[in-house]
Subunit: 202 residues, 2 copies
C-alpha cells in the first residue's frame, strides 16, 4: 500500500534526523534506523537506495531550516526599520551562528558527511541549497560599491559566507559546552564590520 510505503519513508527519515542530531554521523547505521522504523534493512534499501541518500535527505531538511531562518530574519529586517548593509550582514551571520549553536551535532554530521563524500559526485539539487545561501548574501552586498561588478559580488559573497563558516567551525574544537563562547561572537562581529568597511571604502 502506498500509504504504508510513504509512512515508512517518513519514519525512517525522521529517525535518521533524530540520530544525526543526538549521536551524530557516527551513531547512524542502516540497521539501527530499520530496527527503530520497524522494517528490515532490505526495505530501507528499497526506499532510499543507499545510506548516503538517506543521510543526504536528512541534511537537505536541515539546510532548508537554515534557509528559512535566514529568510525569516531578512523579512523581519524588511518589515521593520531600515538597516544598513553591515547590520543586515551581521544579522545573517548571527542567524547562522545561532542555528549552528542550536543544531550543533546535526550540523557537525552534515559537515562530516559533506567531507566524506567530497571525492564522489554531489547531486545538483544538493548543491543548489547551498547556492541559495550564497544568493541571499550577494543580494545584500549588491547595495555596496561591489554591486556594479557581478563577478566580484559573487566572490565577495562566497568569501564572507565561508569566513563566517570558518569562524563558527573553528569555534567548536575541543569544546564540550554546546554554547558558542563570547570570542566567537566577537570574531564574527569584527570580521563582518571590517569586511563591510573595507568594501564600502573601495
Amino acid at each position: 500500500m502506498a500509504l504504508d510505503h510513504d509512512k515508512a519513508t517518513a519514519d525512517a527519515l525522521a529517525i535518521t534526523e533524530r540520530i544525526l542530531a543526538s549521536d551524530g554521523l557516527e551513531g547512524f547505521s542502516a540497521r539501527k534506523v530499520a530496527r527503530e522504523a520497524g522494517i528490515s534493512v532490505g526495505t530501507l534499501y528499497n526506499l532510499f537506495g543507499d545510506t548516503d541518500t538517506l543521510i543526504r535527505q536528512a541534511n537537505i531538511r536541515l539546510l532548508d531550516r537554515l534557509a528559512i531562518a535566514g529568510a525569516t530574519a531578512l523579512s523581519e529586517i524588511a518589515g521593520g526599520e531600515m538597516l544598513d548593509v553591515r547590520a543586515r550582514l551581521l544579522k545573517l551571520a548571527h542567524v547562522y551562528a545561532g542555528f549552528v549553536e542550536e543544531n550543533r551535532t546535526a550540523w557537525g554530521s552534515l559537515l562530516a558527511f559533506n567531507r566524506a563524500i567530497a571525492g564522489r559526485d554531489t547531486p545538483d539539487w544538493y548543491r543548489a541549497r547551498q547556492e541559495t545561501l550564497f544568493a541571499i548574501i550577494a543580494d545584500v552586498l549588491s547595495e555596496t560599491p561591489l554591486g556594479r561588478d557581478r563577478e566580484k559580488l559573487v566572490t565577495a559573497a562566497r568569501a564572507l559566507w565561508s569566513s563566517v563558516h570558518g569562524i563558527v567551525t573553528n569555534a567548536y574544537r575541543g569544546v564540550d559546552d554546546n554554547r558558542l563562547d563570547q570570542s566567537t561572537w566577537d570574531q564574527i562581529d569584527l570580521l563582518v564590520t571590517m569586511f563591510v568597511r573595507g568594501v564600502e571604502r573601495a
Copy 2:
C-alpha cells in the same frame, strides 16, 4: 630487537601517511597498514595502541610540515624587502592555501579526523599548533591601529585565520581537479584586502 621494533613503527607511520595522502581517511585500515608493513594487526596494536593514535601521529607530521612552510615564508619576508601588513598577511594566506593544495587529500583526512574525534578527547597538540599560527598573524596585525588593544588583536588574528581556513575548506566541494580554482584565490585576496583596509581605517 629494538631496531626492528623502531623500524616497524616508522614503516607503519610512513605507510599510514602514504595512504592518507593518496586514498584519504576512508582508504585507511589497520589491516591494510599491517599487511603492507609486513606485520600482524596485533603487532600494530602493540605499537600504537589504537588506530586513532596512528592517524594522529601522521597528522602531527603534516602539521609540522605546514608550520615549517609558514616559518620559511616569514623568514623570507624578514630577509627580503619590507612588505606592508596586507602583503605579509596575503603571503601567509597563500602559503596556507598552497600547502592545502599540494596536500589536498592528506589535509582532508586531517580535517575529517579532527571532526570525527571532536566530541571525544581534546587534541591539545593541534590547539597548540593553532595558537602558534594565531600568534604569527597577531604579530603582523600589531602594526595596525588594532595593536593598541591586545584582546582585539587576538580576536582579529583568530577571525582572519579561521576565515582563510573557511574559504580554502569550502573550495574543495565536488571538485575533482586537485588545483584550487581562481575564485578561491580571488576570495582570499578580497578577504585579506578588505579586512586590512577595514582595520587600518579604524
